[in-house]
């Protein structure tokens, strides 16, 4: 981000953009943070929102008019936007309380022309803006070439991350088999083809991985899968080497990304049913299908669902990389326990960024490790109460022994993706910390040990996790669990454990996190997170099998608050961690591990 913000000052960029909009006869321009793939991370090339407004959060939207630049963010970013978009150039608004389409509907005048990039706006957003525009007698005008690109003189190029083959030994199922399954599904659905715009679904289908955006190892690309089994993959040819070309099944043809919409338009015939995902596709896909006279059928991508149920090879790979990740956690935790008090005593406390570097270095020592799987949250004291804290850009607090510390971190490995959180204390703790820590552990245990029948969905079981906190009048304002990819996105659809309705059955082979927490603003944050696979038990009920191997600190558990079941479960978990990790860790970490896993 630093690079991008080194160009002309915000006022100059906004003036440039307004000039460009006037040249296009546009009275307003809708600028979301989305790229064409609606992911959480975008390439520097696609950081248009940050370039124009300076706002660097992972979600948000701006509307630029002649009068103002309205920046809409959710509750996570209200503080950040006030810092990054201060001053009279901007209006700062809450994206749920003052929805952008309502705001635009109120300021737009009859005859206004409202520009948007149809590759960066999902259909739901487009429909809401279009309805507001109709009310205001204004017109929505798609901009084939993005006006921000026209004024961004030092815009980084579109990413050309190398694509690599993801071998059968880790994928467990060939791309040809997956494509055949997809063709059979399209026949069943009486659909001519499926338009896929989610890079992780494409990477999974073709058994490839990429390197276009941070943390998420999949290539930005598009794909059209035909009912006859053939597949057209729209991908930058510069990313493809001969090994990848040789790997692709014959049924797959590669074409440049630039031909995606044109090819879609050409292949659509009147009366055909074309599947697209209404939540993740750019609206340009729907418009292209409709313009060609075919039926745009809004159906959540079958690949999202198929990919979520891991095959036995994928599951085995995930267990393998969690073993390596566990070693890194133990090495890190042993270092932290020793170094935090020693360095504080020496007047040179360990900092958050130093700890972040340390866990990365512990992972880099493990075979198969590739990169971090998301922006590490390394947070001391009150910083841990901010659920998405990152120690960057000048924020780098010391980790003092009298304050608790939280680390939420994960890795991409050859055979899978990891994500775990541990909360640490170093002796003294703030009032109320132990009570809350014990409740968070009990919440974690409550869901980790659940047995449940088929047909159970994430929103059914979220409260089972929260109950131990609710008993004390506590709660946490985030979800309880998310899906996780197999060397893909660390947050993977469609299953989710949380309060919002999620009509997806949890089925064997799905992999989810369980991560209750508790946060006191300015004081501390607590979270315990492991990854679990859903398995079937002998009586047909389902349960969670643990993947994450890292001790859960016991000092802060209040014995009287624990049931016998909870105590025994933790001791059994720790015995498992000890037995599996002790042969793999250093001597110093081994001594720490033995103590950390001692029965309570």
């Amino acid at each position: 981000m630093d690079d991008m913000l080194s160009g002309p000052p915000a006022a100059a960029r906004i003036a440039d953009l307004r000039r460009e909009l006037r040249a296009r006869d546009l009275d307003a321009f809708i600028l979301p943070r989305f790229d064409a793939h609606q992911g959480e991370y975008v390439a520097p090339h696609d950081e248009r929102l940050a370039y124009v407004t300076g706002f660097t959060g992972s979600a948000g939207m701006a509307i630029i008019t002649a009068e103002t630049v309205a920046v809409f963010v959710d509750g996570r970013y209200t503080v950040q936007v006030a810092n990054e978009c201060s001053g009279p150039l901007f209006s700062r608004l809450h994206i749920f309380e003052q929805p952008p389409e309502h705001w635009l509907g109120a300021v737009a005048q009859a005859g206004w022309q409202i520009g948007f990039d149809p590759m960066h706006l999902p259909p739901g957003w487009f429909d809401r803006f279009a309805a507001s525009a109709v009310q205001a007698s204004a017109t929505m005008l798609p901009q084939g070439d993005n006006p921000v690109d026209a004024i961004w003189s030092d815009q980084p190029p579109a990413p050309t991350g190398r694509i690599s083959v993801f071998p059968m030994q880790w994928a467990g199922r060939s791309s040809a088999e997956k494509c055949a399954d997809l063709a059979a599904y399209l026949s069943e659905q009486d659909a001519a083809c499926l338009v896929e715009t989610q890079p992780d679904n494409i990477a999974w289908l073709l058994n490839v991985r990429g390197d276009d955006v941070a943390f998420n190892p999949m290539p930005q690309s598009f794909l059209i899968a035909e009912r006859n089994g053939t597949v057209t993959w729209f991908v930058d040819p510069a990313k493809l080497d001969d090994e990848v070309k040789d790997h692709l099944p014959d049924i797959v043809t590669a074409q440049p990304v630039s031909q995606f919409l044109g090819a879609l338009q050409n292949r659509c015939n009147a009366g055909e049913r074309i599947l697209f995902d209404p939540d993740f596709s750019p609206v340009a896909v729907r418009h292209t299908i409709a313009d060609a006279g075919a039926t745009a059928a809004a159906v959540a991508s079958i690949l999202t669902r198929t990919k979520s149920v891991k095959n036995p090879v994928e599951i085995a790979g995930l267990h393998d990389c969690h073993l390596e990740d566990g070693v890194a956690w133990v090495e890190f935790s042993a270092w932290l326990a020793q170094t935090v008090p020693a360095r504080a005593a020496a007047g040179e406390p360990v900092t958050e960024r130093e700890a972040e570097a340390q866990i990365l270095s512990c992972r880099q020592a493990r075979p198969g490790f590739l990169t971090e799987s998301f922006q590490t949250i390394s947070a001391a004291a009150g910083n841990a109460a901010m659920c998405h804290y990152a120690a960057t850009n000048g924020r780098n607090a010391p980790i003092m022994p009298q304050n608790p510390y939280l680390l939420d971190s994960g890795g991409q490995y050859d055979t899978g993706t990891t994500d775990a959180t541990r909360s640490y204390a170093f002796g003294m703790r703030p009032d109320g910390y132990d009570r809350a820590y014990t409740a968070v552990f009990r919440a974690f245990h409550a869901l980790a040990t659940l047995r449940f029948p088929r047909g159970t969905q994430g929103h059914h079981i979220d409260a089972i996790c929260r109950r131990p906190l609710w008993d004390l009048g506590l709660d946490y304002d985030h979800g309880t669990g998310h899906g996780i990819g197999h060397r893909l996105s660390v947050h993977e659809h469609p299953q989710r454990i949380g309060r919002p309705y999620n009509p997806v059955d949890l089925v064997p082979g799905m992999v989810v996190s369980i991560e209750p927490g508790y946060y006191e603003a300015g004081r501390f944050g607590i979270r315990i997170e492991n990854i679990f696979e859903v398995i079937e038990e002998s009586d047909g009920f389902l349960s969670f099998r643990n993947m994450t191997l890292a001790p859960i600190q016991t000092d802060m558990l209040i014995p009287a608050d624990l049931s016998e079941d909870e105590r025994c479960w933790l001791n059994t978990y720790h015995q498992d961690v000890l037995q599996r990790l002790s042969p793999l860790v250093s001597d110093a970490a081994g001594r720490w591990l033995s103590a950390a896993t001692a029965p309570i």
Copy 2:
């Protein structure tokens, strides 16, 4: 039902109806069990489905064509429909697996005219049938006068149950105040008026009660509430006496039911927004509004929501009648414990119907008791495994001491409505009964003791109740809890505790049942049910406060399966039951009560 089925045989009725349909140029007729109010109970006058098909279940639908009479029922009634609609006249279908609209779409031929009664079909059903008809190039033809009525020579007259005033001392809020609140709401919503077709909402708004259908003390009627505060009540004048007329606020005008749709049509002006409930109104309401050029705004009735949050007077009344109901439960339970073994030993066992009469007689001895609040489920041994069993029409099993027994029963009292279930055993129990009974008690306890934050909805907490059963690989195939009326319907919308999505926050003043169970086909059924109000605790969290006072039999609880919390909770509950009921029960019942509530 016996009366109705005493007319001509089924074949003759169906032949009559087919003749009538031919005379109307209809190729098919859609005959749901619904009356114009979509309630669970209908008057004998409206038992058209039973008259034509012989099917007497509480939900279902038939489609009559020249070829067949297709009867669609849900899983509760598949056995019953096979008995009641046997033979070649009928096709028997599962209403979810073979939806009527799909079936009709498949059999209908181009040009077919499909009849339906627009007062008996809700909009959702109509829309699905209409879509199928379009696909088949058929036409939906509303029948203003129902063709079944034309052939039903001895059809009972429409009910004319006397309407009575529901006094302020029990209602807690005057009808004039409620109507003023409603007018304010209509202004807020920018709505011209609200069309109300649910009799319990109307009874609550006008502070009246009625006597048109079994168990549910509200008058069948319709109502239009205007934004200016005036109300038109469409009700049979024969039901109104001077006391009721004097009671009604001046803003309320009564008109005959027959003028409902005409008056609605006349009052609608182009451009006006008219609120109707899409889930409970007949489609005729929507069509009438649209035909008049106004906007039919599909919005769940605000009265359903307002009524669900009981005011302090209503809550106090509910506690009062639960005290009286508790006395009846204790008298009954004491009688049952003594009489079942004695009569079995004498070779004249107590029967299910006799027990049903006994609990009624115990209630009739209580001040304020009016009628039963639903069809009692008095079920011995394997009969209790049928969740909606009724000992009627020749079914009347003996209650033997070696078999468990289940009673689900409730009353309408001056000041409220009750509903409770207890499971009894008399010494010997089948294998596995105690383990399941203990789990059902633990399930009941788990939800009864929950604390939860505002924003919690019924589908969030259902699994909390099921978990103790899930732990053993057990479950139950019904909801966990329903709302209950205040001297109104025993099943009251909108809140519900169950797996299906129910987007209604549980808020203080709502009243719900908690009723987990476990059922083994042919062997036994177990259920424990109490009524609870939702209250706010001092820290802002919500919880359930118990209303039902009746001992929960302890013999079958396996001590080792109970936690200390569960044991203490039950002892505290029983102390409360003992203290409040012992002054009110007979000496014999008092001795039984002391033993039944002894601490475990």
